[in-house]
Symmetry: C2
Subunit: 266 residues, 2 copies
DNA sequence: CAGTGGTCTAGACCACTGG
DNA sequence: CAGTGGTCTAGACCACTGC
C-alpha cells in the first residue's frame, strides 16, 4: 500500500510498523517517522506551507497521518536540526526562511577578523551584471542541466565598511528564474536567497562549498582593489532545494586580509 | 540539592522534574535529560569509560540515575550527534575515538580534486621537529595559558602521492603532553589525535578553524616544493576536549592545486 | 485561559548482534 | 537465545505565548 499526502500511513501497533512493501520484496524498511518526514517534506516542496508560515500543530499532523504525536515529533525534530523548520515554544513550528533574522546569511562563513571594526552593519551590495547565457559544460554539470541550456548569470560585489571584499558570479537555471534582472536584485533589501523564496518560490536548504587559494586575474584584482599578486580565497558553492536539486552555482573570490572563513568541526 | 555521579538525580514524576534549585533562586531550569547528559559527560572526561569502550546500556544508566530509559536515550542522542558517543544497534553505545575508521581524520577537510588519483592511500607523514618552548602571547591566548608557560611545538608535513601538501605547526600545553617526542610521533601509526587519546588520555571532540589565503615565506615554500608566489590555504585550528578546554593550536598551510577544502552548509 | 511545543514516564514490540 | 539499541504508543504534566 503506497502512501500519499493527506492519507494515513500504513501501520498500526498490531501490524508491521514501518514495513510498507509487500513481503517478498527487497527489505526496503523505513521507520514510520521517516515516512512522516518524507510527507512533510513533500508538502514543503509542494508549497503547501510557505517560508515563514506556521505548519499545522503536532497534534493536527498526528491526526492527519494517524500516528502518535511522538512520531510526528521525531520527524519534525530531524527537519528542525536540518534547518528546514524552526520550532518556537508556545507558538508553533514554522517553515525556515532566509529572510529571518536568525537564519540570515547562514551560508556566508566569512567573518571580520577580531579587532576589525567591520563587525557591524550590513554589506554594501553592488550588482555588476545580470544576463542570460547558455550553460557551459561545467556549469551544466553542477546544475544538473545539459550543456547549452539557458542560465542566468549574475555578477556582484559585497563591500564591508567601504572595502570591496567579495566578488562573485552566480549561475541559476533559466527556466526557474524567469524575469530575474539587475534592477530586481538591486531593489531587494534582504539576502538574495530571501528574494529567491519570495519571487521564485525556491528555497535553498543546503549547500556544498569547495575552497582553494588562488590569485586573481587583472579584472578580478581591479574589482576587489587588490594587486594581482594578492592571494584570495576561492569559494565554489552549489546550493540545493528541498529535493536535493542543485539550483545555484556560485563562484566567489574572498579577500582575507581583514576577514577569515570560519568553520566549526564536530 | 546538588547532583553528582552515581547518585540519582532529584526528580520523580510527582515532584518538579528538572527543577533542581530551591524555589526563590534564579530560574536555573534544566531538563532532566540535560542533567543526565552532564553526568555522562563527567564520566567521559573523568575517564570512567575510555575511547573505544562501551558505556553501560541505556537500561543500566536509567537504573543508575533513577530515570526512565527514554530520558537516558535523549541524553545519549545528543552526545551521539555531537560525535562524542557512537551507537551500534544490537551491540551498545561506545565512546568515540579518532582511532576508529569512521571517525578517522574527521577534522581534515582537505580532499583530492575530482579526477585526482591521490584519493587512495594514507598520507605520508614526516615529523620535522618536536621541541619544548614557551608560549608566545597569541599561542597562550589560544590555549588559555599564560604567556611564557611551557608548550610543546611540533612541525610536520603530510604528502599525498609523494606531493608534499600540508605543512603544519602544532602547539600543545606542556604539562598535559609530557614525554611527547618526535620519535613517539614518528612511530605511531594512526591519526595523531588517536595517539593523544591512547598516550595522554586527551580526546579532541570539537574544533574551530579560521581560513585565509596567504603566500608562503621562503622556507615554507621550500617545504611544500612550491614557489613563493603560490597562494596557499592557511588553516588555523583550535581543538577542544570534553570540557571545552582548548588543548591544541594548529597552524597549517595547505596546497590547493590538487586538493580543495570541502565544507557542507546546512 | 486555551493552544502550542517540551519533557518524562511506562510498556510493548522490532531489528540487530553474538554466543 | 538473551541483550542491545530503535521505534511506536498513550498519557501526564510543564513552559511558553498570546488572546
Amino acid at each position: 500500500m503506497p502512501i500519499s499526502s493527506n492519507h494515513p500511513v500504513t501501520s498500526f501497533a498490531s501490524e508491521i510498523p514501518g514495513m510498507l512493501v509487500t513481503p517478498g520484496q527487497a527489505p526496503a524498511f523505513s521507520p514510520l517517522y521517516q515516512q512522516i518526514k518524507g510527507l512533510i517534506l513533500q508538502s514543503l516542496q509542494g508549497g503547501e506551507w510557505k517560508p515563514g508560515e506556521a505548519i499545522p500543530s503536532e497534534m493536527d499532523l498526528a491526526a492527519r497521518f494517524k500516528v502518535s504525536q511522538g512520531t510526528v515529533r521525531k520527524a519534525i525534530d530531524e527537519l528542525a536540526t536540518e534547518n528546514l523548520l524552526v520550532r518556537r515554544q508556545g507558538k508553533g513550528t514554522f517553515v525556515a526562511t532566509h529572510a529571518e533574522e536568525r537564519l540570515q546569511f547562514r551560508f556566508l562563513k566569512l567573518k571580520p577578523d577580531h579587532g576589525n571594526p567591520q563587525n557591524q552593519g550590513p554589506a554594501q551590495r553592488t550588482i555588476l551584471s545580470c544576463k542570460r547565457a547558455r550553460a557551459s559544460a561545467d556549469v551544466a554539470r553542477a546544475l544538473a542541466l545539459r550543456t547549452g541550456e539557458a542560465v542566468i548569470q549574475v555578477r556582484r560585489t559585497l563591500a564591508f565598511g567601504g572595502v570591496p571584499t567579495i566578488l562573485e558570479d552566480l549561475w541559476l537555471p533559466g527556466d526557474r528564474f524567469k524575469g530575474l534582472s539587475a534592477e530586481r536584485l538591486a531593489a531587494s533589501q534582504g539576502p538574495m536567497y530571501a528574494l529567491f523564496e519570495a519571487e521564485f518560490g525556491i528555497s535553498m536548504v543546503r549547500a556544498d562549498e569547495r575552497l582553494k587559494a588562488v590569485l586573481p586575474d587583472e579584472q578580478q584584482a581591479q574589482w576587489l582593489q587588490v594587486s594581482a599578486t594578492t592571494p584570495l580565497l576561492s569559494v565554489e558553492r552549489v546550493a540545493f532545494t528541498y529535493n536535493d536539486l542543485p539550483m545555484e552555482l556560485r563562484r566567489g573570490l574572498y579577500r582575507t586580509d581583514l576577514h577569515h572563513y570560519r568553520n566549526q568541526l564536530f
